[in-house]
């Protein structure tokens, strides 16, 4: 049924666009679908002055930053896992991470730019500072929820403490933690665009802020839709993966 709402939105847009174009055929603020198709064609299928296909180059750059951040979230999961199992990890990290989690990541963006320069590091660092503590705390809370009897039993069955963490607790918290990461995709993309808009030479976020100067709505709107589509497919993929890989998990039920 959501299909209906999409159709209504498109219809309203088209009406507005037609009305504005009747007054001024050169209108750039509400580009018609033909204009946008043309903008998309220029970005996605034709090389620019440097011989690059912009949409592709931008997507690759942004996705790379996104995936590097994702990979760097693995230590976040492990840290949370160990905090949930070993009291001394908890003692050492819990208050620190909880504080860290409350720092508004965007507010330290200037510091990142000063410390790490305008390169890739500061953009990835921004994403990580934004979501790393959240994921750690989530993994920590989930690990603590695993009944202690299971750990006791694991030990009586001959598992070492590390085997307990990796064979009993980690697989049990992973579906829920992956789900949290999925819900945090939005925040990650937000930080990515914020970083790119301020200091980058390539990237989806960078592009829409650059073409804004020319009020190139015919480029911005397709870019926004493209970003949303990427996010939606990443979301769907993770959901599908959890369902397939963890048939016993209750996250999806």
């Amino acid at each position: 049924m959501s299909f209906l709402l999409f159709a209504i939105c498109l219809g309203l847009y088209q009406i507005t666009a037609m009305a504005r174009h009747a007054e001024n055929p050169q209108d750039k603020i509400v580009p018609s679908f033909t204009q946008m198709a043309d903008g998309l064609k220029r970005s996605a299928f034709e090389a620019d002055r440097d011989g690059e296909i912009r949409l592709l180059v931008d997507s690759v750059a942004s996705l790379k930053r996104f995936f590097i951040s994702l990979i760097l979230l693995i230590p976040a999961i492990l840290l949370g896992l160990y905090m949930g199992i070993f009291p001394y990890f908890e003692l050492l990290f819990l208050k620190f991470i909880t504080f860290f989690d409350k720092i508004p990541a965007l507010a330290i963006l200037p510091i990142l730019f000063i410390v790490f320069g305008l390169g890739e590091v500061s953009k990835v660092a921004l994403i990580l500072i934004g979501v790393f503590p959240t994921i750690t705390l989530d993994a920590y809370l989930r690990a603590r929820e695993v009944p202690r009897e299971q750990l006791t039993k694991g030990l009586t069955l001959g598992a070492s403490h590390h085997e307990l963490s990796l064979h009993i607790v980690l697989p049990q918290i992973l579906p829920a933690v992956l789900n949290t990461i999925r819900l945090n995709f939005k925040a990650m993309i937000l930080f990515l665009i914020a970083g790119e808009s301020l200091a980058a030479t390539v990237g989806l976020g960078y592009r829409i802020f650059v073409v804004r100067r020319y009020m190139a709505m015919d480029i911005i709107i397709p870019y926004v839709i493209w970003m949303s589509l990427l996010a939606v497919s990443a979301d769907l993929f993770v959901r599908f993966f959890i369902k397939k890989a963890y048939p016993w998990a209750t996250v999806n039920k």
Binding site: P147, R148, E149, Q150, T152, K153, G154, L155, T156, L157, G158, A159, S160, H162, E163, L166, H167, I168, P171, Q172, Y246, P247, W248, A249
Partner: protein, 307 residues
Amino acid sequence: MSAPYLLQLEDIVKIYPDRYGHAMTVLNDIDLHVREGEFVTIIGPSGCGKSTLLRLVLGSEQPDSGSILFDNKPICHPQRSRGIVFQKYSLFPHLTVLDNLAFGLDMEAFTMPGRLLQPLRHRKTRKEFRRQAQEYLERVKLAEHGDKYPHELSGGMQQRVAIAQGLIMKPRLLMMDEPFGALDDSTRQDMQLYILEQWQTHKMTIFFVTHDLEEAVFLGTRIIVLSQYYQSDNVAQAGAKIVSDIPTPGPHPHSSEFKYSPEMNELIRKIRLDGLEPGHRQHISDFDLRHSDSFRTVSKEDWYDQN
């Protein structure tokens, strides 16, 4: 009965904070020696600290005072040599039934790097473990459920898996905390026989907590009654003590006729009166500690005459 002591508890006291933060003694001066190969059943009113006693022996909790020796060594954390079947089955939800059973075998046979460095050997051994697990599964009559996850089984079925999971490891001491609570009557009788059979074959020592008197007397070679219903000369007395320590009569394992013998009925009547009746409080000097391994140290506060 000249086997060496497997477990030695002396002067064990365990205190928990209650709801308001006041100290509440749960176990008060427990003395208990258990020989290898004994089938000890522990019985007592609810809240008397039976499960606490098991946790202390497991090593998942430490006593507030007193010493516990297992095989002449102090207990510091749960170990492979002391198995447990919890009241609430606590299977690993992310493993299939068969993998739940094979888990311990796998953990024992490999170290973490070993599993990575010898993938072929690991695969081959795992296959063998799963075959073994299947045998145990057949014995608890769940042969066709091996590939299911625990949440797909009923409570009684999960409980049987948990029992098999404990038995497959053949620990020196196996502790069971009301393991038959979720079972219907015929399954229960079948599992009783199964445990007796495993106990005999593998010469394990078993600690078996139950609230069913008949079961306790039928299964055990030795019955420990833990109760907070007693009186001592100490006005501030609190917490459960061992109020009876009795060897079960006759050859062991008992035949099923034993369940209907007058001896058994008499024993059950006595235990019910001594341990489970809040209104009937015997003085600590009247405790029936007739088992030959039974001993106790008494404090002056508890018993004036003795000191």
